[in-house]
C-alpha cells in the first residue's frame, strides 16, 4: 500500500522533527531535576535521582528570581498592551482608509522591523542614561514596543483587510455609531488576529536578552533573561547550572500556557491572515 507507506514516512519524519525540537528542552528539564554532583555526568536522564533543590534554590536564594519574574511579566504585558492598541488603530486606518503616504508608512514600519537590535542598543544606552530612562521599566517597554509595532500592524492590517467593508456598512445601517461598529462587529471578528499579534509581541518582549542586559544595571528593571546571567554559584569557580536550568524551565512555562490556551486561535489567525490580504 503506497498510501500506508507514505503515511509511515510522514510519521517518522514528524517524529524526527519533534524529537529534534524537543531534545534541548527535555535536556534542560532533566538538568534542572538533577542533583548537583550529577550535573556533569553527561547522562540524558537524571539517573542519580530527582531533586527539586534547584527550584527551591531559585525561589529562595540570594538572587531575587521572583522579582525578575514579576518584572518580566509586567514589562511584557505592558509592551503587548500598548503595542496591540496602537497597532490595531494604525492597522485599521491602513486597511480602511486611502490616504497619501500609506505605502511609505508600511515600508517604514517594515524597515524598523528589519533593524538589528544590536545596532541601536549602544546609542540607546547613552540616550537612556541622559534622559533618565536607564534601568527603568519604561526604558525597556519603549524599545520592545518599537520593535513589535510593525509586526502588530502587519498582522492586524491583514486581518482587518479581510473583514468585508459591507459588514461595517451593514452595522451603520443597523444604527451603530462608528465606535459601536468597531467594538461590536470589527473587534470580535479580528479577535484571532489580535491574539496572534499579541502572542507574537509578548514572546518577543519575554525572550529579549540584549535590551534587558544593556539597559538595566540593578534589580530595578531586570527581566528574567537578563537576571539569569547574574546567577552565581557557591564560589567563583562554580557555575550554577542546575539553578539556571530550573529558572529557564520556569520562564518557559508562562509561554507554553499562553500558547496552549490560544493555540486554536493562533492557528486560525496565522492561516486566515496568510491566504488573503
Amino acid at each position: 500500500m503506497s498510501a500506508g507507506r507514505e503515511r509511515l514516512v510522514w510519521t517518522v519524519g514528524l517524529f524526527f522533527v519533534l524529537a529534534f525540537a524537543l531534545i534541548p528542552v527535555l535536556w534542560l528539564l532533566s538538568l534542572s531535576l538533577k542533583q548537583t554532583p550529577d550535573l556533569t555526568d553527561n547522562a540524558f536522564l537524571p539517573l542519580g535521582g530527582i531533586t527539586f533543590d534547584n527550584y527551591s534554590q531559585i525561589f529562595s536564594g540570594d538572587i531575587p528570581f521572583p522579582k525578575y519574574l514579576v518584572t518580566s511579566i509586567g514589562i511584557a504585558l505592558i509592551a503587548t498592551l500598548i503595542s496591540i492598541t496602537l497597532g490595531a488603530m494604525c492597522a485599521y486606518a491602513l486597511a480602511r482608509l486611502d490616504f497619501p503616504g500609506k505605502r511609505i508608512i508600511l515600508a517604514v514600519a517594515l524597515a524598523i522591523a528589519m533593524f538589528p537590535p544590536i545596532s541601536v542598543v549602544g546609542p540607546l544606552f547613552d540616550m537612556w542614561r541622559n534622559i533618565g530612562l536607564f534601568d527603568t521599566w519604561q526604558g525597556l517597554v519603549i524599545p520592545y514596543m518599537t520593535f513589535t509595532l510593525p509586526l502588530a500592524i502587519y498582522t492586524l492590517s491583514a486581518f482587518f483587510r479581510e473583514i468585508p467593508w459591507e459588514l461595517e456598512q451593514a452595522a451603520q445601517i443597523d444604527g451603530a455609531t462608528p465606535f459601536q461598529a468597531f467594538r461590536q462587529v470589527i473587534v470580535p471578528l479580528a479577535a484571532p488576529g489580535t491574539f496572534t499579534a499579541a502572542i507574537l509581541v509578548f514572546i518577543f518582549a519575554w525572550n529579549d536578552f540584549i535590551f534587558a542586559i544593556t539597559l538595566t544595571s540593578t534589580d530595578n528593571a531586570r527581566t528574567v533573561p537578563a537576571g539569569l546571567s547574574f546567577f552565581s554559584g557557591g564560589s567563583q569557580f562554580e557555575t550554577p547550572v542546575g539553578a539556571i536550568a530550573a529558572a529557564s524551565v520556569v520562564v518557559t512555562i508562562p509561554i507554553i500556557i499562553m500558547v496552549l490556551i490560544f493555540q486554536r486561535r493562533i492557528v486560525a489567525g496565522l492561516t486566515s491572515g496568510a491566504v488573503k490580504g
Binding site: 456598512q169 451603520q172 445601517i173 443597523d174
Partner: protein, 401 residues
C-alpha cells in the same frame, strides 16, 4: 412608510468621474421601484446615496418629506440588504436579526418577539441559533432579508440581493421578495442588473445608463414603448432585433422588404418632424414574427418574406429561429449593450445582422431550411441612429403634446 425623491442628484468622485448625473426620481409611498442597468451604470451608487453610505455631491434627497442629505444612515429609518448579505459571522441568526433593535435599545422580550415573527415569515425558525457559516446560500439570503424586516423601516433598500444565488433558487426567492413586499407594503428600492427581475418584480422600473436615468415606467410601458435604443435593447429576453431601415415618404424599407407605415406610426413620425428620406434603425421584438403556416389567412396581413433558418432552438413551449439579414446597425447605445452582454467580441460577418424570431411551437420550420415568416408591421419601432431616440414611441408623442 415614506416616499423618496431624488432631485437633481449627482455623485461626483474626487477624480471628477460622475457616477450618477443629475438624477430625478420620485418613488411613491409603498412602491416597489427597481433600478436596473448594466454594470457601472450608477444604479448601486444611487442606492447607496439613498442609504447614506455615499455622500451626495449635488442635489437633494428627500425621504418622507425631509431632506436627508446630511443625515447618517441610522437616522434615515432605512434597512438595506447587501449583495453579499453582510451577515455578522460571529453572531447567531437571532443575534444578526436583532442587532439593529439591540442598538436601538429595544427591550429583550420585544426583540425576541419581532425576530421570531420575522423568522416565521421567512421560514427560518429552526435556524435561529445557528451561525451564518452553517447556513446555505438561500438561508443566508433570507437572514439578510429578516434583518431588514425586523426593523420595520420606512424604506427597504436591496442591492442585487439575489445575484449570488443559483438560477433555480433565484426564481424562488424572486417570488418570495415579491410576496414579502406585498405583505409589508413598505417602499422598496431594488437594484439589479437582471432585466427579468426588473420586469417581474417592479411596480415601476428605472433604467439607467452611464449614470443617466433613461426611462422610468411600468414594466409593460418600458417593454412596449421604450424611449430609446438602449432601453429597447436592455428590456426583453431574447432582446429586440435591430436592423437598418430607411424611411421614404410613407414607406419604410426593411431588410425583410418594404412596408407601408401604419397610419398611427406615420402620424407619430410626422408629428415629431421626422418625415422624409432618412436612415433609421428598426427594432422588432422576436415575438412579432410568426411562421406563415400557423397564421390564419384572415390575419391582418403583415410583411411576408422568405428566409433561410440558420439555427433553430426548440424550448418546447416556443421555437426560437435565427436568421441573417443584409446590413448592419451601428449605434453607441447598441455597442454598449453588446459589451455588457459580453457579445462585443463575437465574430459576426461584416454586413449582416442576426435576427431572432419567436415562433409558435407548431410552426413547420427546420434548421437549414427555408421558411416563410410574417412580420407584424404595426409593432415595428423606429429609432434615430445618432441619438437612439424612439421615433415611434407614444412617450415621445406625449411629451410633444
Amino acid at each position: 412608510m415614506a416616499e423618496i425623491a431624488l432631485q437633481h442628484v449627482t455623485k461626483r468622485y474626487p477624480d471628477g468621474f460622475e457616477a450618477v448625473k443629475d438624477m430625478d426620481l420620485d418613488i411613491r409611498d409603498g412602491e416597489f421601484m427597481i433600478l436596473v442597468g448594466p454594470s457601472g451604470c450608477g444604479k448601486s451608487t444611487a442606492l447607496r446615496m439613498i442609504a447614506g453610505l455615499e455622500d451626495i455631491s449635488e442635489g437633494e434627497l428627500i425621504i418622507g418629506g425631509d431632506v436627508v442629505n446630511d443625515k447618517a444612515p441610522k437616522d434615515r429609518d432605512i434597512a438595506m440588504v447587501f449583495q453579499n448579505y453582510a451577515l455578522y459571522p460571529h453572531m447567531t441568526v437571532r443575534e444578526n436579526m436583532g442587532f439593529a433593535l439591540k442598538l436601538a435599545k429595544v427591550d429583550k422580550a420585544e426583540i425576541d418577539r419581532k425576530v421570531e415573527e420575522a423568522s416565521k415569515i421567512l421560514d427560518l425558525d429552526q435556524h435561529l441559533d445557528r451561525k451564518p457559516a452553517n447556513l446555505s446560500g438561500g438561508q443566508r439570503q433570507r437572514v439578510a432579508m429578516g434583518r431588514a424586516i425586523v426593523r420595520d423601516p420606512s424604506v427597504f433598500l436591496m442591492d442585487e440581493p439575489l445575484s449570488n444565488l443559483d438560477a433555480k433558487l433565484r426564481v424562488q426567492m424572486r417570488t418570495e421578495v415579491s410576496r414579502i413586499q406585498e405583505r409589508l407594503g413598505t417602499t422598496m428600492v431594488y437594484v439589479t442588473h437582471d432585466q427579468t427581475e426588473a420586469m417581474t418584480l417592479g411596480d415601476r422600473v428605472a433604467v439607467m445608463r452611464g449614470g443617466v436615468l433613461q426611462q422610468v415606467d411600468t414594466p409593460k410601458e418600458l417593454y412596449d414603448n421604450p424611449k430609446n435604443l438602449f432601453v429597447a435593447g436592455f428590456i426583453g429576453s431574447p432582446a429586440m432585433n435591430f436592423v437598418p431601415a430607411r424611411i421614404e415618404g410613407s414607406r419604410v424599407s426593411l431588410p425583410f422588404g418594404e412596408v407601408e407605415l401604419p397610419d398611427e406610426l406615420r402620424r407619430r413620425i410626422e408629428s415629431a418632424g421626422h418625415g422624409g428620406g432618412r436612415e433609421v434603425i428598426a427594432g422588432v421584438r422576436p415575438e412579432h414574427f410568426e411562421s406563415a403556416d400557423v397564421l390564419d389567412h384572415e390575419t391582418p396581413a403583415g410583411l411576408r418574406f422568405r428566409t433561410k433558418i440558420d439555427v433553430l432552438e426548440s424550448m418546447g413551449s416556443e421555437l426560437y429561429v435565427y436568421f441573417r439579414v443584409e446590413g448592419q446597425t451601428s449605434s453607441d447605445q447598441l455597442a454598449e449593450l453588446a459589451e455588457d452582454a459580453g457579445m462585443a467580441d463575437l465574430p459576426g460577418s461584416e454586413d449582416a445582422s442576426q435576427v431572432v424570431a419567436r415562433l409558435a411551437p407548431e410552426a413547420n420550420v427546420r434548421q437549414g431550411g427555408e421558411a416563410e415568416l410574417v412580420l407584424d408591421t404595426s409593432k415595428i419601432q423606429l429609432f434615430e441612429p445618432q441619438t437612439g431616440q424612439n421615433l415611434t414611441a407614444r412617450v415621445a408623442e406625449a411629451a410633444a403634446r
